[in-house]
Amino acid sequence: MATAAETARAAEARDRRDRWLLSAPGLIIIFVAAIGPLFVMLAYSFMEKADYGDVKFGVFSLEGWVSVLFQRDIFDDTLGLADAHLSILWRSISLSLYTTVLTLLFGFPTAYFIATRPATTREVWVFLVTIPFWTNLLIRTFAMQQVIRNEGLINTALISLGIIERPWQIMNTDLAILLGMTYVYLPLMVLPLYASIEKLDFRLIEAGYDLYASRWQVLRRIVIPLVKPGIVAGSILVFIPSLGAYVIPRVLGGGKSMMLGNLIELQFGAGRNWPLGAAISITLMALVMVALLFYVRNVSRSGASHG
């Protein structure tokens, strides 16, 4: 008589089925409107472009992928490096790295400062970081524009102080994008840093001073190694959206300073080269995956060393 055991098996099977049914709506929506289209895009990157956008459906071509890095000479059809694309790729990567470094330089002391406030005021400081975090990205970018444009705060101040005579052109330069991205993504650095510094056991710091470390040595040899997971998390949280930035370079770079996101948009707009746009998109995704893999490797390693 194994009725009870059968019941147990049936209950487990029912639980499995219910769990699939429950997750089905979410999985289907995400498949239809997020993951599925990526595969369609992958297919599109291997098709021939049509003259007015879109592709010649089902016609295989590697032209999209080739044009990511190379361009055909108009006259003799030979391949040369696509300098414009390469410089945009380089700008995307370097500006993202600079942004990460800048947010870390400002974010770490800020997070440390918040974490060392008394518990009563700490929440207020965290809240002050949270508000910009949840404010529309476009609005924050626009706010940055108010500061750096030719008639903006910085230039008005510098001119009225007599330091410069004509406005300092920041808008539509790489510097504008860098300032914008640093400003917009700073909360993404501060919040994870704060989370890990807050968990720091300050008795370890006491032990550090007890063993003759200076403030700098305590910071470098004790604090930073212990909050490394937070540093890595914050860096990845800043680096990844920077790499895929679209709104910030569009508003602050003004079409002169383009990043990968703008290059992609261009192919689907005026460029009318969907296969190329698709290929660049996948390249961008690949770069993001590399960054994520770096993150996963780092986290698993530091996770292992901290038990």
């Binding site: 409107a33 997020a34 500061v147 444009r149 008639e151 001073y209 998109s281």
Partner: protein, 269 residues
């Protein structure tokens, strides 16, 4: 020998306080400038002509702004509602269980929208939806609602899953022990205890949908501007302080939502 009056502060790091204060200053200065200019009476952003509400009135009377605002709110309500329902169900399906085949797959799937740059999702949706639009002839709000729901799900999922994981199954077991069917146990015990997290998830999803500009830009059909895409379009041109006024109102809305969210989340049942 002078005696130290205060203990050696082990937490202090020289200069950190100054950098932090500068950071906070830098975080709020642009926002303050934006808000200040929205109250500017002058016609252009180049001059300051004193305080005025004229740009708020002008924006309020602008039909395009009205349409975009209503569209944004409707879209965010739909997307957040659908995403919260789907996320709640998914959270129930993926927590409080020993690992089962497919669980990791589900996690990866649900969090996928967080991993892919918006611009990539945006153009991928453009490719797919533009073809569907041609095939079906349907160009309504459905596409936007679907796309927004998809990227809102991971945000709504976050707090709901966290709450469920901190809730063990004992209370549901107690309900079952007291003759509640699984369905009644869910409605009488699980759902009421989950309510704060569901509200938090909904609000997160709502804010995320309201803020989106990139995906909307690529998915929308003609005449389907939301407030952010309308503003993005305006920024291309010579901007008038009307944009500042809209941004200021938008900002105020975000602050209110975040504050409410903060207090909903902080209050423990």
């Amino acid at each position: 020998m002078a005696r130290r009056q205060r203990a050696y502060d082990i937490r202090r790091q020289p200069g950190f306080g100054l950098i932090a204060l500068f950071t906070f200053f830098a975080l709020y200065l642009p926002i303050a400038a934006l808000v200040a200019y929205s109250f500017n009476a002058a016609d252009s952003l180049s001059r300051w002509d004193g305080l005025s509400l004229r740009w708020f009135i002008s924006a309020w009377n602008n039909q395009a702004v009205q349409d975009a605002s209503i569209r944004s709110l409707l879209l965010a309500t739909w997307a957040a509602t659908l995403a919260t329902i789907a996320a709640t169900m998914a959270a129930l399906a993926t927590t409080r269980t020993p690992n089962y085949p497919g669980l990791t797959f589900k996690y990866a799937f649900i969090n996928q929208p967080l991993m892919v740059p918006e611009i990539v999702t945006g153009v991928a949706l453009l490719i797919v939806f533009s073809r569907i639009k041609v095939w079906t002839g349907y160009t309504g709000m459905g596409y936007l609602i679907l796309a927004h729901t998809a990227f809102c799900i991971p945000f709504a999922y976050l707090p709901i899953r966290a709450r469920l994981e901190s809730m063990d199954l004992t209370l549901e077991r107690a309900a079952a022990d007291l003759y509640a069917t699984p369905w009644r146990a869910f409605w009488r015990v699980t759902l009421p205890l989950l309510r704060p997290a569901i509200i938090a998830g909904f609000m997160l999803a709502f804010v995320i949908s309201l803020d989106d500009v990139v995906i909307t830009e690529f998915v929308k059909s003609g005449g389907q501007d939301t407030l952010p895409t309308y503003m993005l379009g305006q920024l291309r041109r010579e901007t008038s302080p009307e944009i500042n006024a809209i941004a200021t109102v938008f900002l105020a809305l975000s602050v209110v939502l975040v504050t409410v969210f903060y207090f909903v989340n902080r209050r423990r049942p």
